[in-house]
Symmetry: C2
Subunit: 875 residues, 2 copies
């Protein structure tokens, strides 16, 4: 016969933490603490299997379950020397749900169960505190009426408010005993009226109804939805914990508090916490009285304090992690009400993990697995001061496109941004969206806010690369770039007004909120070394400029996985030559302009080769459509017309010709280089001339030339011929420079025909941004209109531009890896989309057998940790 | 030992038509005719295997081959009673290449081989025609010098032109014997100078060099490229045919001609052809003398005529197809020089196929397989008069987007087009590109010309649907819509100027070229019945309007596979309500506007249900992004602003909000219906209210509701709920109306996860236009910039929007079919992209196990024939 109920207490505890499946998380921990000899108010746990049985029996408790509940209640009464429903010496209980995984949506807690008109009198006698008892009784009726009997919360509020109004008081604790009595009566009357049922006077009936209500809440709509959305499957049900009540508000030798075995903010190994004497748990939280630091308890109640210190040490040693504990002291006697793994800041998480390894409390693998890689982001960026932030209301919430906090004066265009920066101001660039033209303005700004675009819009991608705060796709923001006005949250901002962005949450605030600087302690470096010890995946960076490359090297990047050459086209004089090339009438004109661009490109490549000092650099040939390089604004067009001596009409005609309906699917990538081979020739010349010079100076170089947007192997053949012939010409016959030629896999057709493409490619690099766009048919610049709603409605779980769609896009990635390696067993394969720095996607890359991931410099540490975790989880 | 040479002639012919692999097509047919007793000038064929051997031996003829050539030459000399190189009675030969499949790019023909200064004298004596001999000699030196000795054609031309200039004559036939002698000398001198080799005087040397040159040309660059592009593999090489020369210009009892066993233009079963007496083959073609109708030969040379009639009948009966024959009469004696299957017009092809079945000459399967489905297109559209067309020069060539010819006055916008039509003019709408707004103008026009967009641009798709001529993507055309000017081919056209389009070739002409009407004879209908007998695939049509639906029924459509509801949104009053809906501030406003649209939709659906009379109709819910419905031009925006009483600023703000960077991948399809469920509700209500009313009137209805742009099964679940709940509400519990709910498979992710989607779908329909766009990353509106060049450079074989990319897109189709049917064995699957009417794509659909294809009304007959052929080929 299956056991339905497990007892816990100072003696005869039947459960343990390993029984979480049947006792739930809360029940298992209470049993575990009891086993450790930690004083826990005794009680019993009704198993999750009983919950399953409850549903099998048509929402009834079986006779066996009832019997075991009776038996355990008797045990509990003996242990507490009190009796449920006894008018002299009444036992009060708390009843709580608790499944194997934490799960909001179910019925939570009923306190003070066992009170009725008679037992209340007994408790008054026992405690000598009439007001406390009637307040407890009032709370029981409200909680029970609400969660067990289904009366809406508002009806209770209405009664309470009316009495407060009549009595002319503001706070509950100003109510007298008589008021509380009246409330209890009115609550009961109202419950009778609404439910046609009486509030059960019998303490035992209260208990049984509460147990059934907890089981019943397992299948309410909210709980079912929560399980579906979080993909929680295979649970038997919820357990029910019935536990003796203890009270911290029984006078000056009673108290209650919350404590942590280490400092959850800094991670320092010190005892940390707060308490209040003569108080209940909710008083600590409510903030009416200011709690005291836990260290002062030593003087107030030295014995209890010593015991608490022993307990916290014991619990941390036992659970091998920082514990977050609740305790109550009832008339000098310490009870632990809960222990659980404590939440912590990123900084604390890193420090604790590393120090616990030093202390031999945990091993390296545990340390690595314990840190959420996403959390590391907090350590790498300036953040808004969380305390100061609480005093401000968010004007609106966009997408958290690039983390960190930014405070500055609003600029609506590049010129203003640059000028304001020159004048010594911090600048936040506010745009409807950004294009490569805006790089100068973004560079001048400390943060970027856009009304349009998703998590991988231009603004988002570039800001992340620069490590700058960005909020994108804030649809509520009305940005009028011409009139230089931003309307948001009912307020109007002009150029020069202060604004604050929280790129970690997506919130935008008026005015200035102070920021705090990140601290990169030695623990962080140590954690990275640990990650390097276990990970299998290489971690490279996406970097286009020497600045990015240096940053990435600091963060431990092992090479450049994506150098986007077009970003080099925008700076200063270069863009002029690029535009001259685009507007040239013929091949000769184009070649002339390209000759002007080449020295710049070569210089950039030389700098990168030197910084990477022997590490590989994957250089992608020109990718965006040419129209991206032309000006958009009338004034800029006029300026260009004058510079080049070309009439505005001719310019506009050319721009019209280049206009595309869907530029994402247009004349770009290798398509450009096939129709204009001279562009590829110039770029490849610049790469190999740079490689040769740097190699000749004694620095090792490993260029990997990457052809973008291949869909058909014939395209790669075409480009490969150009690259090889230029390389041979530039490098000469006996060069030391070894190079690879490979391709992006970003067009679905390339993934589908990867076996054919692998015959010509020496490496693959998945461009999962574009692959996601095409596989899902989502323009990343336009998804702001429906993806947030898709997530809200549960149609999508995550934004597929943040977290790789493993089902759809992932299937293509797996196919391409398999097909590619079927032709070339050791084909080098990486990923250079934004997903390369997202932990679950990194794990996917590990499982799929990629050689490396490449991500923005600021995500390199995250990718390293995620890669190590993936390797550890696999074992 | 392998046989190298096969003899053919009146006696001892060794080959036959089945030996095409080793004799080549030409050699096999010459042997076959000889076997049939048809008089053929005797000769011999050196096998394709000898060609392979030639390459194995380092481009040398083996001794065995040389010996066999000698033996056969001796046989030929005996048969002809003349000797190669004999000064009294010289034998002249033609030498021709001939592989197993017709293959341009190789050396073609050398005539008159065997002539030199001495044999020329012998031939003069024999023929009594000195000029003829010297002219033949001159031609030999030129052909031999060019193709065997590699001298460029221009050098010969230069010599010839100079002599004509000196002599003051215009035509070759005005040159005297002396002139010809001088030419021969100068040719030889020039050859010596250029090649440092002598023109070989020895007739036998001429023969051997010619044979080697033919073999050598098998591997020249042109031939290799041709084989690669046409995927010709597995051939051994080319054969060489050496054949005795016969001459039709030996006086009034000689002649030459071309004839057909049936009329190649009409298909009528009559003897058809032309001849000239005292002439050579090229004279018939050159058009200097007007050839006579073959029937008159009966009087001129009754015996030869009778013999020719016997022969043509024998050959047609033997080859079981219409023969295209060349003959020469030398001094009263008839020789057949060639027979081959004759080319024919579409009309003739249909008539011959059907009549030959009636005559029991061929069976039904052969008849069906003999017609190129693409050819049928000619029968369904008005064409430019081919004779008149030859007198005009094309101004430029765009894409042949929709076949047929159109002549009309140019209009640059919808209003002008409609007005000009009202005034009784034929109109050609000329635009940079078209959008759904332009439907009115396209409807008023007889043809459409666009400067941008590909074969599946809006203009192309709609024009094909309407059966209207369209030339798209004519990049050379500069269209200034504002100034109402078209610049093309150096000419400038204003509104009202005449222009002629050839949608079958893509050519555009100035002025008016007469058109000819198609003839749909009874044979066409009979052919369709034959196709129906054998095909397995269903053939439906893409039709949005009653007019299209009626047209499609005439062509034999078995239902509607794609009814695009958005096309119904543009007409007249409807577009106003649609715009009101888009601009509404809230749900209530949208619902109010939708209520205005519903009666129109319902009315359209009722009309379609009635026309289809029990045949299924697949109705796709709204697909395009909302901004497509808003006006683009300032004037229209102003008008709309006045109509709706909304300020222009507000309008523009809304339009800005709706603007998308890549609309193809944006907020459209089911994404719209998920964010605005009220739109789907209105459409589904209209569908089922229409279905119910028509069903109640006693007409069977089979609505199939199709959800567009599904990428994730959750999207379909969301839409399905709406459809089912509306259907239940409208139809009531006991309705006779049975409906299906299914989805387009057009997003790659949908194909990849087709097993999940099939759980919720009752049918799939492949939207291969969008699937091609996303799988290849090709925006069909933008590919004009690179796809033509891709095809020219051999990177793509075909435009993937015309011919389904079976490798890439096809792989997704196959996956989706397999995955879908793994869940639902009998899942109904169709295709409704443009490819549904393209023969090779239809064959792919047949092989992949689809249930039906759906295409524009005018391609229904083509799809039916292609489907029948696919079924026949499979067996």
């Amino acid at each position: 016969m299956t056991k339905h109920v497990y007892f816990f207490g100072a003696e005869k505890t039947e459960g343990k933490k390993e029984l979480k499946d049947i006792l739930g998380g809360k029940g298992a921990n209470l049993a575990e603490m009891s086993n450790l000899g930690v004083p826990v108010p005794p009680g019993f746990t009704i198993t999750t299997e009983t919950c399953a049985e409850f549903y099998e029996e048509g929402e009834q408790l079986s006779q066996e379950a009832m019997n075991e509940i009776e038996e355990n209640l008797a045990k509990l009464e003996t242990a507490m020397n009190a009796k449920l429903g006894d008018t002299e010496n009444p036992l009060l209980l708390s009843v709580r749900s608790g499944a194997a995984v934490s799960m909001p949506g179910m019925m939570d807690t009923i306190l003070n169960l066992g009170l009725n008109d008679e037992t209340a009198q007994g408790l008054i006698k026992k405690s000598g505190n009439e007001r406390f008892v009637w307040d407890s009784y009032r709370r029981l009726v409200q909680m029970f009426g609400g969660v067990v009997m289904g009366v809406e919360h508002a009806y209770f509020e209405k009664i309470l408010d009316k009495i407060k109004e009549t009595k002319g008081v503001n706070y509950d604790d100003e109510l007298s005993v008589e008021d509380l009595k009246e409330i209890v009566k009115k609550y009961k009357d109202m419950i009778r009226e609404k439910t046609e049922n009486e509030f059960p006077n019998s303490a035992k009936e209260q208990l049984l109804l509460a147990i059934k209500a907890v089981f019943g809440s397992w299948n309410n709509e909210r709980a079912i939805t929560y399980r579906r959305l979080n993909d929680i499957k295979g649970l038997k049900g919820t357990a029910v914990n019935a536990q003796a009540m203890v009270f911290g508000n029984m006078g000056e030798t009673s108290g209650t508090g919350v404590c942590f075995s280490r400092d959850p903010a800094t991670g320092e190994n010190v005892f940390y916490g707060e308490y209040l004497m003569n108080a209940q748990g909710e008083d600590v939280v409510a903030g009416i009285r200011t709690p005291k630091l836990i260290s002062t308890l030593k003087e107030v109640m030295p014995n209890a304090y010593e015991e608490l210190v022993d307990i916290y040490k014991k619990l941390e040693l036992h659970y091998k992690d920082m514990q977050d504990m609740e305790f109550t002291i009832q008339e000098g006697r310490l009870f632990m009400l809960q222990t659980r793994t404590g939440k912590r800041t990123a900084q604390a998480a890193v420090r604790m993990a590393v120090e616990m390894v030093h202390e031999n409390l945990i091993d390296k693998k545990t340390a690595l697995l314990r840190i959420d890689p996403n959390q590391l982001d907090q350590l790498l960026h300036k953040q808004l001061d969380p305390v100061a932030k609480q005093k401000h209301n968010s004007l609106g919430k966009g997408l958290p496109a690039s983390p960190g906090g930014a405070v500055g004066k609003i600029a609506f265009d590049n010129i203003s941004a640059v000028e304001m920066k020159k004048a010594g101001d911090k600048v936040v660039l506010v745009r409807n969206d950004t294009s490569p033209e805006d790089l100068i303005g973004m560079d001048a700004a400390v943060g970027i806010l856009t009304a349009k675009g998703g998590m991988t819009s231009h603004a988002a991608v570039v800001a992340r690369g620069m490590g700058k705060c960005c909020v994108s796709g804030l649809g509520d923001a009305k940005v009028n770039e011409e009139e230089r006005v931003l309307k948001l949250g009912g307020q109007t901002f002009k150029e020069g007004d202060y604004i604050t962005l929280d790129g970690t949450s997506g919130d935008v605030y008026a005015g200035q909120i102070p920021t705090i600087d990140p601290e990169l302690t030695g623990n962080f470096g140590e954690l990275m070394l640990l990650a390097d010890e276990f990970r299998k995946l290489g971690v490279r960076t996406n970097a286009d400029t020497p600045r990015d490359a240096k940053q990435a090297i600091k963060f431990g990047a092992e090479g450049i996985g994506l150098c986007r050459t077009e970003h080099m086209f925008f700076e200063g004089e270069r863009i002029k030559a690029v535009r001259e090339m685009i507007l040239a009438k013929d091949l000769e004109g184009r070649k002339k302009a390209l000759a002007k661009i080449k020295p710049y490109q070569k210089e950039d490549f030389m700098a990168l080769f030197k910084i990477m000092d022997g590490k590989p650099i994957t250089i992608r040939l020109l990718d965006p459509p040419l129209h991206e390089f032309l000006p958009k604004e009338e004034a800029d067009i006029k300026e260009l017309s004058e510079e080049l001596g070309v009439s505005i009409d001719v310019l506009k005609q050319k721009m019209d010709e280049l206009h595309e309906v869907n530029p994402m699917l247009g004349h770009r990538g290798c398509r450009l280089a096939i129709t204009y081979p001279e562009i590829a020739e110039m770029q490849v010349e610049a790469i190999f001339e740079a490689a040769k010079e740097v190699a000749d100076s004694g620095i090792e170089v490993h260029p990997e030339v990457m052809v973008p947007l291949i869909g058909n192997v014939t395209e790669l053949q075409n480009q490969k011929e150009i690259i090889i012939s230029v390389a041979e010409k530039v490098l000469g016959p006996e060069s030391k420079v070894k190079y690879l030629i490979g391709t992006m896999i970003e067009v679905p057709r390339a993934a589908l025909t990867a076996d054919e493409i692998a015959k010509e490619a020496e490496f693959f690099s998945f461009g999962t941004n574009d692959l996601t766009q095409m596989t899902l048919g989502f323009s990343r610049d336009d998804v702001g209109k429906f993806v947030p709603e898709y997530i809200k409605k549960g149609i999508l779980e995550k934004d597929p531009f943040q977290v790789l769609d493993q089902t759809g896009v992932g299937m293509l990635v797996e196919m391409a890896v398999k097909k590619g390696r079927s032709v070339k067993e050791n084909l080098k394969i990486g990923i250079c989309g934004e997903h390369g720095g997202e932990p679950t996607s990194v794990e996917f890359c590990h499982r799929t057998g990629l050689n490396y991931v490449s991500c923005s410099p600021f995500r390199v540490p995250i990718a390293k940790l995620a890669a190590a975790q993936a390797a550890l989880r696999e074992k």
